[in-house]
Symmetry: C2
Subunit: 502 residues, 2 copies
């Protein structure tokens, strides 16, 4: 019998055996796959050696490991050890566990900080005026805009990645520090000059990875990127306080009367106790009236996961998983969809999720007679939070409701003027308190609708006076006039300044 | 009161209003986002004008719309209209509805065809010797290898995309021609010189899109890319034939005796009636013995979806959805994972899914005394199919079982020599027929294991003789010795030639 090779043109090779190819592999890099291959290293020190680092650079970080993040600390330690100076740390948020940064600020290793939210010792140090450069506070969508527009140029993004694979892809789904979606890291991944994934868990292959290796320059394996205690709370708790529950009930009543809870609607709420109670009441109403929502967005909680799994909410658009049930759902439910910070709230995105919201329910540290909201500082001007997605969703949603008790810790929440402006009153439509519901006068349409339905509306001024009668008129703050930072609105303009704390 | 702008450094702009940004947007292209932006066009003719086309080019296509695909026809029509000559059409598979290609072959517009599977008028025309250049038949994994290694250079990939968004991302999840995963299109997307998505359904934004806009040059909107009747069968049918069911039962018995159906195992089966019955019996066994599988792979069917949703199969690795239930599941279940042809079966991939299979159950058109399998031609040498994933999974799986009736249409399936070699016998371990179970002598380990468990093994020669007794000895084919094509093994070598049909 003639051999196969007798029949073949010279450039065709005959079959040898089914694993002959294992000796000689070859694979081209396509024209569109230009990025150099990923380099794997085994310590932060090695990657500092590999990167061409110098004073004055900008490093970025995400906050998906929240109060359990160890990556900012690891990088800070190495910056300190090497005596790098005048670095800017651009973290999507800073938490109490990032306390080690305070020393770096004091010693001049870190002279600039940019964040959407800051709480804990670093925030306190900044408020005390220790940071050399002005502190910049973005919104979640605004940070994506800043990165993508070039306002925030990142030299190196150090991205905590709960799992990585051999090709250099990363995911938040697996590993001991699994935290769910990684939405806030995506602009950094796409736009930083160099991208380093920091991980403590390696897999063979990750499919549908959030962090695509084509953007990754280095992967660094370390012992531990996170402390599971601090990453996600095991459960989020609905308020049992009768006052909070009344506010939640009234909020849902108002939303219902406005016709916002109807087939195919969309919603976002925070993870505060009242907001969680709002979701409970919305859910009851949906079941009673056989209504299904098109989507819920935001930091997704276990409550929404249950609603999704019960068929009440079609899609969960999730930039950040708020609890363990959400992280688990993201591993299992296809319509629990990871979105980037840009897809979530970047004002330059053609149709970000926030613009598709029918309503959002938000909190407030202070709200003033113009419905301006402060969630950035306390009434003494100390930084205790930040916009996060507050200004993004307030602007995007058709109706924005702020829920709050009239007093917190015996202090009136309604002020003549907010101490710090986070979200402009023009984007806040309704305030629901336990003593009455106020509607922003620029929303005459909503006011008329509610009046027609027999809902009693009060003036925000009257609510303020009521709280003054209970708690007294708060003293006006005569703050020291040293500017220590700026509140940057989502479009890149400055909406307010931050002062040094007295 | 002093204005905010009084406090701002000159390069900071004060807040104006929350939608002031809408007047002037800006967005940089990151260094890693080098690809030019996607151009949207509204006819195939426009994209032919835009591309710098000439005779002799290679166009590629995927087969996810199967017998409902209209894209190959649309492109062929335009090639014909413009009188382009000597084009090569590299389609992952060709179906009966691609009949219009026959005229293009006859008129010299198309002189080369490359496919992993071909059935219908085009296959017949090729078998008749009408194609000018040799027909190349790859495996599913081998096609990915060919593209990524440069053996198959694609000038333009025309990718049918059931939905596209405004940025130029594409998905198979949505739209009137939704077909599920698009695994066979991914190598084309990444490696073709130019990529054109052809779609009939536009959405605002697609999250987690299979087809990333960064690889896309053009999107062309047309009236209809597919005919839903032909895209996916509504249901896949388990055989009710008692002979088929006996084969399936015996197969599962053998797999069980070999200890392959144990906690954490992995499997693949085809969509033929016997294979589907195998899955039924595997499922029964799993429930009885409380066993969970790590994954099932392949073209995923509704059967596997049910098993996944019942918690019996942890992950579905799906390169192509075989029915409507699978397409729906892919929209809903996170662990119903889309994989590319490379991730599925590319021999150059470090750990393709096929290499992780504990067992695969496959069919055969012919199997010979060396356990070589033919699923490419009938016994007269006419092309009626092709490897698809046959040779890929047979090589990768720890145990490969071929299931078949001894006779089909009164013709013996076991031959002395297969007419065409698709999958080498060295990768086929066990043959299960209604008249006995044969084990490949190179797998003495399996033979001993089964004998120890009291399973009767027969020689494949005896099974052949038995079928000869029933149906007579088949005449030897003295085929005309004109080569019209080559069967290319997954590693790029030629495993057999295709002859012109007598």
């Amino acid at each position: 019998m003639s051999k196969l090779s007798d029949y073949l043109p010279p450039d065709f090779k005959p079959f040898v055996s089914s694993d002959a190819y294992k000796q000689k592999q070859r694979r081209l890099i396509s024209e569109k796959e230009q990025s150099q291959s990923v380099v794997f290293l085994h310590s932060v020190s090695e990657v500092f050696d590999a990167l061409n680092l110098h004073d004055g650079m900008t490093f970025s970080f995400h906050h998906h490991l929240r109060n359990g993040d160890k990556v900012i600390g690891l990088i800070g330690e190495e910056v300190h050890r090497r005596g790098l100076k005048d670095m800017t740390f651009a973290a999507s948020s800073l938490f109490p566990n990032h306390a080690s940064l305070v020393d770096l600020i004091k010693e001049g290793n870190v002279s600039g900080i940019i964040a959407n939210y800051a709480n804990g010792p670093v925030a306190k140090a900044i408020s005390m005026g220790l940071l050399k450069k002005p502190f910049i506070m973005d919104t979640h969508g605004g940070r994506a805009r800043a990165i993508e527009s070039g306002d925030l140029m990142i030299d190196v993004a150090f991205i905590a990645s709960p799992a990585v694979d051999k090709a250099g892809n990363g995911t938040g789904r697996f590993g001991p520090s699994a935290c769910g979606t990684l939405g806030y890291a995506i602009p950094d991944l796409h736009y930083a000059k160099k991208v380093v994934l920091i991980s403590d868990y390696q897999m063979d292959h990750i499919e549908e990875a959030e962090l695509n290796h084509r953007y990754v320059d280095y992967v660094v394996m370390v012992d531990k990127i996170g402390d599971s205690e601090g990453i996600v709370s095991g459960t989020t708790k609905v308020t049992r306080d009768p006052v909070g529950r009344k506010i939640a009930r009234d909020t849902v009543m108002v939303l219902d009367k406005l016709g916002l809870i109807k087939e195919g609607f969309s919603m976002q709420t925070g993870a505060g106790g009242i907001s969680l109670a709002v979701v409970e009441y919305v859910k009851d109403l949906m079941i009673r009236q056989n209504i299904r929502a098109r989507f819920a967005s935001g930091g997704i909680t276990g409550q929404y996961v249950l609603m999704h799994e019960q068929g009440l909410v079609e899609t969960l658009y999730d930039v950040q998983c708020f609890d363990l049930r959400a992280a688990k759902s993201y591993r299992e439910n296809r319509r629990h969809v990871a979105i980037s910070a840009s897809e979530y709230g970047n004002p330059f995105e053609p149709s970000p999720i926030v613009d598709q919201l029918d309503f959002v329910v938000l909190g407030a540290t202070e709200i003033d007679l113009n419905f301006n909201v402060n969630v950035t500082t306390d009434s003494l001007g100390e930084i205790i939070g930040g916009s996060g997605g507050h200004a993004d969703t307030a602007h995007g949603a058709k109706v924005t409701v702020v829920v709050t008790n009239l007093l917190k810790a015996r202090l009136p929440i309604i002020k003549e003027h907010v101490t710090t402006l986070t979200t402009p009153g023009s984007d806040i439509d309704i305030l629901v308190t336990e003593r009455g519901i106020a509607v922003n006068p620029i929303r005459i349409d909503l006011m008329n609708q509610l009046k027609q339905k027999g809902i009693q509306i009060v003036k925000i001024e009257d609510l303020m006076q009521l709280s003054y009668q209970i708690a007294g008129v708060p003293k006006t703050l005569s703050h020291e006039k040293t500017i220590i930072g700026y509140v940057r609105y989502r479009d890149g303009s400055i909406i307010d300044v931050l002062y040094k704390k007295m």
